[in-house]
């Protein structure tokens, strides 16, 4: 292969990682209709040192700049689905070494949990390295991977920590440290791959402590959250105490599908309570607060996976627009949608899915027609040290 062909192939491979931002057409047309002073890409205004706190999404949203008194208008572009939908498996070992991916989703990282000296959980994180194509062990205490798998948000131990880092996954270097004036124990990327919600805690969120205020009192030490822009580091902190009766002491906030709201976990129905980006309670978007499998709603927003019916293993897929059952799948858990027709699932060995056998399981890809493709080797999911996948749009 000559040099010319090698460069051509490398260009093709590199360019295949590009993602067309959703709403690009509308954004260009909106700019065309907007007054001339507003016709500029957001990147320019952010590079000018403006603080961006994005509020709302999907259609037009307001971007508030600390140094710019007048708001400008920008549509938040949720990250679109990947052009690379190839199936990647690693069946050879208990812990994945090579990339595991299907459809528009990949296992971007995983962690193994161990008991720490303080009695809490300590995680060892393995993060995908796009250079080597393998998962590499990291020193971070907590992390989340941005859609597109180019960046990760990382937190140093011990938790909670005074800052979070934005890590370039290719160079493995932190390109920006962000501090919000409060100690942070959890982080999650917005669907737009640009903003982060940081959850602040007074104490280590992975150490279970008995409630101090009697039965029914909050168990955790959450103090609030901050939504920050990963490119500028700007954002604002909002107090949000732990939710009474919420499971465990870690009560990290997550993002709504549209990226306009954040949610906090509860232990009751509804399973999530939603807030706007200033911390004010808001009604839950349709079907997003339902108690359901981790996979949530399908990418097109019409399918929902719920546990059961017994005796199982079974997960029921329902069309939320018609309310009708679509299918029952012979899996233990639905963890993430690969696309609108396939799920990442946890499944156990055939004929051994009873008693302790249910914990001898592995990651699978299952279609709505029930076709199962193994993605990883078997492991014991009930033991400390088992690996737990983190799924990301690739």
């Amino acid at each position: 292969m000559n040099t010319e062909t090698q460069i051509k192939n490398a260009c093709a491979h590199l360019s295949a990682q590009a993602r067309v931002p959703a709403g690009l057409t509308d954004r260009v047309l909106a700019a065309e209709r907007a007054p001339r002073r507003l016709r500029r890409p957001l990147g320019y205004s952010l590079a000018a040192g403006a603080a961006a706190l994005l509020v709302g999404a999907g259609v037009g949203v307001t971007v508030t700049h600390r140094s710019a008194p007048k708001p400008t208008v920008r549509t938040i572009a949720p990250v679109t689905l990947s052009s690379d939908t190839s199936l990647r498996t690693d069946l050879g070992s208990t812990f994945p070494r090579h990339l595991v991916a299907a459809g528009h989703t990949a296992v971007a990282a995983y962690y193994t949990a161990h008991r720490g000296e303080s009695g809490g959980i300590r995680r060892t994180w393995y993060l995908y390295d796009p250079g080597s194509g393998t998962y590499e062990k990291t020193p971070w205490a907590y992390l989340d991977v941005a859609p597109g798998m180019h960046q990760a948000a990382v937190i140093e131990g011990p938790l909670p920590a005074p800052r979070i880092g934005v890590l370039d996954m290719a160079t493995r270097k932190v390109t920006r440290w962000i501090s919000v004036g409060h100690k942070v124990g959890g982080v999650a990327w917005a669907p737009d791959g640009r903003r982060l919600v940081l959850t602040a805690y007074a104490k280590d969120p992975d150490v279970m402590a008995p409630p101090t205020g009697g039965p029914g009192s909050p168990q955790g030490s959450r103090t609030g959250f901050a939504v920050v822009d990963s490119t500028t580091g700007h954002g604002a902190f909002h107090a949000l105490p732990p939710y009474p009766g919420a499971p465990g002491s870690r009560q990290d906030l997550g993002w709504s599908r549209s990226g306009t709201l954040v949610w906090a976990p509860t232990e009751t129905d509804p399973a999530k309570v939603f807030y706007d980006l200033n911390g004010s309670p808001r009604p839950a978007p349709a079907h997003e607060a339902d108690a359901m499998e981790d996979a949530g709603l399908s990418p097109n927003g019409t399918l929902q996976a719920k546990f059961g019916p017994p005796p199982g293993p079974a997960v029921t897929i329902t069309n939320v627009t018609t309310g009708k059952k679509v299918t029952n799948l012979p899996i233990e858990q639905a963890r993430a949608w690969a696309d609108d027709g396939r799920l990442f699932a946890i499944g156990c060995a055939v004929k051994k899915c009873t008693g302790k056998g249910e914990f001898n399981n592995r990651l699978l890809l299952v279609t709505l027609q029930g076709k199962i493709t193994p993605l990883t080797g078997y492991h014991r999911s009930d033991k400390l040290g088992a690996w737990v996948p983190v799924f990301t749009h690739r």
Binding site: T3, E4, A10, C11, L14, S15, R19, L24, V28, A31
Partner: protein, 172 residues
């Protein structure tokens, strides 16, 4: 903008946005946000001149090339990406072809925008030197010398890339 033009623009975007985004992504060295800004700027310029543009895709591409050209005339020296620890050696496993693409692709993100633009135009877009010179508003000699230096730099970063003979062949 009248409804017919808007419809044409939407159809154009439906068909060509992926290819244009890929080019923007290449020109910006794999920077998704910079690529979005580059493409959006080019599209905005195109849509305002839609009625007078014969080939919208060619126009968008040319705006992006020129945008990069303007950019590297003033700032390219500050834009080369340095990494603290360059890779010691090529990564080898059972997929050497993929690895070579990854290594060379990584090198492409680490050269200057000027070098990258010329390599993309010459080898990804398959354009002759004369056409590259016209698009970038420079001489054929400049394109030729930049290509030579860009390939040499690329080989420094990715020694697996061809050999000296190969470089001579492609700049001929």
């Amino acid at each position: 903008m009248d409804p017919a033009t808007e419809r044409q623009f939407r159809e154009f975007m439906e068909e060509r946005s992926v290819a244009l985004m890929r080019l923007a992504y290449l020109l910006t060295g794999g920077d998704q946000h910079a690529a979005e800004d580059l493409l959006q700027t080019a599209l905005s310029k195109t849509v305002t001149r839609w009625a007078g543009v014969r080939s919208p895709e060619a126009y968008v591409r040319q705006v992006m090339y020129r945008q990069q050209a303007d950019f590297w005339q003033s700032r390219w020296r500050r834009r080369e990406t340095h990494v603290a620890v360059p890779p010691d050696e090529a990564r080898h496993d059972d997929t050497p072809a993929l690895d070579l693409r990854v290594v060379v692709g990584d090198a492409l993100t680490r050269i200057t925008p000027r070098q990258r633009a010329v390599l993309v135009l010459r080898f990804f877009e398959d354009l002759p030197e004369k056409e590259v010179a016209r698009l970038l508003g420079c001489s054929v000699g400049t394109v030729r010398s930049t290509t030579h230096r860009s390939l040499a730099r690329l080989r420094e970063l990715a020694p697996e890339l061809g050999d000296a003979r190969g470089i001579k062949e492609v700049v001929r």
